[in-house]
């Protein structure tokens, strides 16, 4: 019975999808669809005519952008709006005549198994995309764990992946990153627009020390890979700035009472607290209980994006819902761009096409697709068949000398495939927002270079 229902859900998601790609043939809002945001397409010399005969490489007149995202079950809200970003660009490019006369389509793969993202399913999908010779590049995956299963496959086959959402350092950086691309270490196949986790810690340390002027801090982590990682990098940067870490604790997510921890820490009078972890792994409870301890009632609490969970479309996230009044004076970093590039019509285009606000990673997926299209435009000049076009896309996209004009701004990628100027957005809680229920409000956005980068 349960599987039957899940199957129905999956089928519903596929229906929604096919509805999306069906409407993709209709050009959105005439030519204004390809505004400043898709400048690289407009500026491509071959596409200016709009009725150019595609080169021999463009077999059948159409090539594809693959998408590999979790699209069904509980992950629908993650995958579908992200995939829509790609569909939007494909529609815009086709309306403008395609890439060097070659029309675009999508090959949509879903890595959710029974409604949850699954690395094995992702790996299988990646093999499907590799086998489809007309796929020029892939946007995805959404989850870092899935990426770790997929990169060895795409690296072996020389198929470009651009992830809008992966943040784990291990995906790209040594020693793990080296292993994933061991088939062709010289030909990396993976880039990402999202900000690696290691940058959130130092940027939060900078913010607490410089912007908020606090010189001592108590750090508590959730003992998980992400939490310990951001905790360590926060600690290193805070000490480097001259601050004092009065106490560092690690509390597993099974902890049901954080009061003793905060009682012990409060005795050392920290001026701030860094919550290194996520709300579901205990930081929500730590915040709520920590606030009840004398001396902790009003000092700033800072956390990474696991705490600053903005919720869909920037609405109130779980942290504020759980912590209630305790969420006052809490700050958070998010490893993504809050502002799009100036002049970008992305949000308006997206809303016009899909009838709702974009998801958190829609613009990044759109930017990934823009990078693939720009790389393909370049590659089209010399490509002779699908294989050489695919290789040209990969080589152009990962070339650290290239820069790309995207909805997120001008992007370039380092030798590991990481964004050279990763974005960090700072948020703080405002308990009077959202009709008194409280919400995260945007403070500022920075391009932040990791001071502890390898």
């Amino acid at each position: 019975m349960k599987y039957g229902k899940l199957g129905a859900l999956g089928a519903a998601a596929v229906l929604v999808l096919s509805a999306c790609s069906g409407s993709a043939t209709t050009p959105p809002a005439a030519s204004s669809g390809s505004g400043a945001s898709s400048a690289p397409v407009g500026s491509a010399p071959a596409s200016s005519g709009g009725a150019v005969t595609p080169g021999a490489w463009c077999v059948g007149g159409t090539v594809k952008i693959g998408t590999e995202l979790p699209m069904s079950g509980g992950e629908t809200a993650n995958g579908v709006p992200t995939e829509n970003g790609v569909e939007l660009l494909v529609a815009q490019v086709n309306a403008a005549g395609g890439v060097a006369g070659c029309k675009l389509a999508t090959n949509v793969q879903d890595d959710a198994l029974n409604g949850v993202h699954d690395p094995q399913t992702g790996a299988k999908n990646m093999q499907t995309l590799v086998a489809d010779a007309s796929v020029m590049g892939v946007v995805g995956p959404f989850n870092s764990g899935v990426a770790e299963a997929e990169i060895p496959i795409s690296n072996g086959a020389g198929l470009l992946m651009c992830s809008p959402a992966n943040t784990a350092n291990a995906v790209t950086q040594p020693p793990d990153g080296d292993q994933y691309r061991s088939a062709h270490p010289d030909k990396i196949s993976y880039i990402r627009t999202a900000t690696p986790d290691s940058i959130q810690g130092p940027s939060a340390a900078d913010y607490l020390y410089k912007d908020l002027g606090k010189t001592s801090v108590y750090i508590i982590d959730d003992t998980e890979t992400f939490g310990v990682g951001v905790g360590d990098s926060f600690e290193a940067e805070f000490k480097k700035l001259g601050g004092t870490v009065v106490k560092r604790d690690s509390a597993p997510k099974s902890t049901t009472d954080y009061t003793p921890l905060f009682t012990a820490a409060a005795a050392m009078n920290p001026q701030g607290v860094y919550l290194a972890g996520t709300t579901p792994t205990g930081m929500g409870l730590a915040l709520k209980q920590g606030r009840t301890v004398s001396g902790m009632e009003t000092i700033p609490f800072v956390g990474p994006d696991g705490v600053a969970d903005l919720g869909p479309g920037g609405t109130q996230g779980a942290t504020i819902t759980i912590a209630g009044a305790a969420a006052a004076n809490v700050y958070g970093t998010v490893g993504a761009a809050h502002d799009l590039a100036s002049g970008s019509t992305f949000v308006a285009d997206y809303t016009a096409k899909f009838g709702g606000a974009p998801g958190a990673y829609s613009a990044a997926a759109y930017a990934c697709a823009q990078i693939i299209v720009a790389s393909l435009t370049k590659a089209a000049a010399t490509a002779t068949d699908l294989a050489s076009a695919r290789e040209g896309v990969r080589a152009n996209a990962v070339n650290s000398a290239n820069t790309f004009t995207t909805a997120l701004g001008t992007l370039s990628f380092d030798k590991y495939g990481d964004n050279t100027k990763p974005f960090i957005s700072f948020y703080k809680t405002d308990m009077t927002a959202a009709g008194g229920k409280g919400d995260w409000v945007f403070v500022k956005q920075e391009s932040f270079t990791d001071p502890n980068a390898p």
Binding site: D257, P280, T292
Partner: protein
Amino acid sequence: MTVNLPRFARPLGIGAVALIVEYLLLGTQQFANALTLGAIYALIALGYTMVYGIVELINFAHGDVFMVGSFLAMWIMTTIFGLTGPVTNLVNLVGLLAIVMLATMVGMGLIGAFIERVAYRPLRHAPRLAPLITAIGVSFILQNIIATAFGPSPVNFPQIVPADKFALMGARIAYLNLFIVIMAVVLMIALQVFIGRTRLGRAMRSTAQDREAAELMGVDINQTIAITFFIAAALAGAGGMVQGLYAGSIKFDLGFFVGLKAFTAAVLGGIGNTTGAAIGGFVIAFVEVYATVIGYTQWSEVAVFTVLILVLVFRPSGLLGQQLGERA
């Protein structure tokens, strides 16, 4: 010749020594924290020990019964009473707490008796392993029901007790902590009186000693076991409610680790012995808080389960294990 002490003198002595040692090592503030946590563990440990005493079943679903209790209390508060924030009127607050606690305990008691009826009673004469595995199955069923109904994310628990504190010997202690400890102690005393002084309690004790003989003497075994499960689940429900009040947010997998720790407390005190379970709860909480105080939070669980192993190796019948004959 042995000195004939009253039979509660030994547990009282052990309890008093444990509390004094705790206080000296922790200081007032952390002692209050440990006492509160211990009260919650003790309420759950009582259920483990009662059920084991009467049917010799380690009811691994008990931690999840506790979790369901906190969700039931949350549901009653938010859906029936529409509570979201602190209730400042003292009379209203006490009344609400009493009503919600009573409703939660009765509701959980019925759920506990129902679980016994459908999951354990059919297996009463099966090999010992069968009900143990059923218990694990019930645990998963309860977790998944709650995860489906309330979602897998932490859920907010209305903080109806204001966060006010009072000063005591250099520490600032919340009234909520005081309420939790007093409530737990009252429930434990009530349980002791029930087991020791009432007809049903006598039926429980006799069933624990020798089920067949008790049946021959006219004790309704099915009813007695059902009542044991009812009481065990009701106490866990009360524990779940105060856990919610204390922590402020609850989650569907909350019962797993808390249950394991309470089980450790029950074993430490001597499984089958209700006084031992209560003392065990406070000792386990103390070990956990002390690990935090000396800066080894990530080792607190290791410490708790090391205690379990040491007890099983050196004193398999627990602190008060020699009283096993009077279990239940």
